[in-house]
Symmetry: C2
């Protein structure tokens, strides 16, 4: 069976199309502002009151009624009532302008002396200038970074409706030979957390097909990742296990590393991604397919979370026609990029020693020296 699947590898785009049709954002929950960082807004947030709530001082100084300063000059200093204000203080009564602290002098009798006319609104933040009551503060789908948290705090919003965090089960299909470590589990856990998911289970399961099928059927989550057992070996039962537990929609994708990836769902409809056990293939199968599911479930942009930059190749980048290939590259001091030793030669060390990578699509044999390529960067600086 596996052999058939290998020869019938489908394209990355077809795999994306299947995933995108199978996975939708989760529902929402309310979280306190203090815990909302890096979450995704589930609804528009509107200002319940205008910001500023009323006309307020924008500087430290003295609140005045502008019309009372009209005739002020150094030849005609005017003495006005002393109303000291700090930034953010509401202006009261008839006051509508603020004389900055260092431009007003106190006379001996508790009044302030003005030697220049002020315009109405001078050094004043007008009510509703930042946003009117009912105005949009943040749109649904916004990722909550520090300034988004800050604007909500300033608006007096204390709880935010956010998309629920995807709960991710990670099942590691145990290798038969003794002493085999779970070298992928910690990596996949940190990838899940990067993408806003929460690891609800990280367990080693028996590699047999029926054991895997039972493990897939048990337990509640929003997505299940199975690591290992995706290949053509006699000991590789991830695909048959998934087929027995629900639907194996895709097994074998034309992407390298990661070609033995499988996609499907449990009988209960939970999406399942089968990740190869070889570490670089596990990494890239996660990056392309599992990350897309986790991010879509969590309401995030489903694409790869890397900055891209157009750069020039210093050396040839080679790839196979018919296969989307991930080529790790290093940025040179002259601003060009060149390939580093490949994943097939040094495994994960290729990703560790690279500055980024180039994705060469199925239709391309690679790039000659001097070509413009889109480099996704691991390191930003």
């Amino acid at each position: 069976m596996s052999g058939d699947h290998r020869s019938a590898r489908i394209s990355v785009d077809a795999a994306f199309a299947w995933l995108d049709g199978a996975v939708y954002p989760l529902g929402q929950e309310d979280v306190p502002l203090r815990q909302a960082a890096r979450r995704v807004l589930a609804e528009d947030i509107r200002a319940q009151r205008p910001i500023p709530a009323c006309d307020s001082a924008s500087v430290d100084g003295f609140a005045v009624a502008a019309h009372e300063t009209l005739s002020a000059s150094s030849y005609n200093p005017l003495s006005l009532p002393l109303i000291e204000v700090a930034p953010g203080d509401a202006l009261c009564g008839e006051t509508n302008a603020v004389l900055p602290l260092d431009q007003g002098e106190l006379d001996g009798s508790g009044r302030v002396v003005v030697v220049e006319a002020l315009a109405p609104g001078q050094n004043v933040d007008q009510q509703g200038t930042v946003v009117a009551a009912g105005g949009l503060l943040l749109p649904a789908g916004a990722l909550l970074g520090p300034q988004q948290i800050g604007i909500c705090a300033a608006a007096g919003v204390s709880d935010l409706p956010v998309v629920r965090r995807p709960r991710v089960r990670i099942l590691v299909a145990k290798r038969t030979h003794p002493g085999a470590a779970d070298s992928n589990g910690p990596m996949v856990c940190s990838l899940v957390e990067r993408d806003g998911g929460a690891v609800s289970q990280h367990a080693v399961v028996d590699r047999g097909g029926s054991a895997l099928a039972r493990a897939l059927a048990a337990g509640d989550a929003d997505i299940v990742l199975v690591i290992g057992g995706t290949g053509p070996g006699r000991d590789d039962n991830a695909a048959s296990g998934l087929a027995a537990a629900g639907e194996l929609a895709i097994h074998g994708v034309a992407v390298r590393p990661g070609e033995t990836t499988g996609l499907g769902r449990t009988a209960a409809g939970m999406p399942v991604v089968l990740l190869p056990g070889s570490p670089p293939a596990c990494l890239w199968s996660y990056e392309f397919f599992a990350a897309r599911v986790v991010r879509r479930l969590g309401g995030r942009d489903p694409g790869l979370p890397y900055i891209s930059r157009v750069m020039t190749t210093a050396r040839k980048i080679i790839s196979s026609i018919g296969m989307t290939e991930i080529c790790p590259v290093r940025c040179q001091p002259d601003g060009t990029v060149e390939p580093v030793v490949s994943f097939s030669e040094i495994g994960l060390m290729a990703a560790v020693s690279a500055d980024g990578f180039v994705i060469v699509p199925e239709t391309s044999e690679g790039h000659p020296p001097g070509a413009s390529v889109n480099v996704r960067l691991y390191k930003h600086r």
Copy 2:
């Protein structure tokens, strides 16, 4: 006093120089691999054994001794002992090559038939190819991302020596007028966490100078941030409080927003950053100065954690000579950038509605239309 400081604002670079001389990376601690994501390595990590630990199959198939396949061809099929292997399995005995699963046929008697010669090492990952015993896996200072976690897991490393997380005290100088919310605290907490710090205390303290001095002297941490009370008002005692509790090294920096920033240390030598209470000034004072301290303490790159990209201005960007200014900008569909309404007009909403920002240095009046500017991006995609 405050007035004097305002007129004697020092440059951003001079403030950086003071900070960089006052702050060094913290010591180290060991953490389990599973909790090491986003931490910074404190020491080089070397492989305790070679990777792969021994010559291993790189594909599913049949292990063979290459010299026994020398005369194999479709006219001379050879029948060899059946040794099935999966990727990662150690090769045993005299075997030194792997015939892929789909190229070998089983004969009836439990042997495998070979019709082509294999070279020694074919489909084999040689011992130590990824890294030799004692070889460098990851250098001190590396930020631990998913692939760094993965390579450590693959190497059997279970605990990692990382730089201790900076413990950050956040003291909010309470506004005197009733009902004033702590609009900056949640934002600053999320900034601290972004930079790898841990908020050890987030408290509202009395705004009086002696109360602030007492609060600064109490409590243990690696850095203290005081929010509010940095301005020239009568009610602004952050600077005098810090002077009383230790050293006020700098008060007033030529940066907008953020010009009333203060820097210093407690009598015990703990660095202190005084952040203005106006939200955009608080944000930018944090970004320039507090973030630099938190990141340096934690062994991270001290610079602003934003991607930069050279883009062309669609409209003029105006700035004051003598003042480093942060100009929020929006990226246009044609790839140019233009300024959005400024921080002084709409406060934090400027940061929320911008795609990024341009830092205009003290020596510049800004940029004409059509100029190349370095844009730091909030949004990467």
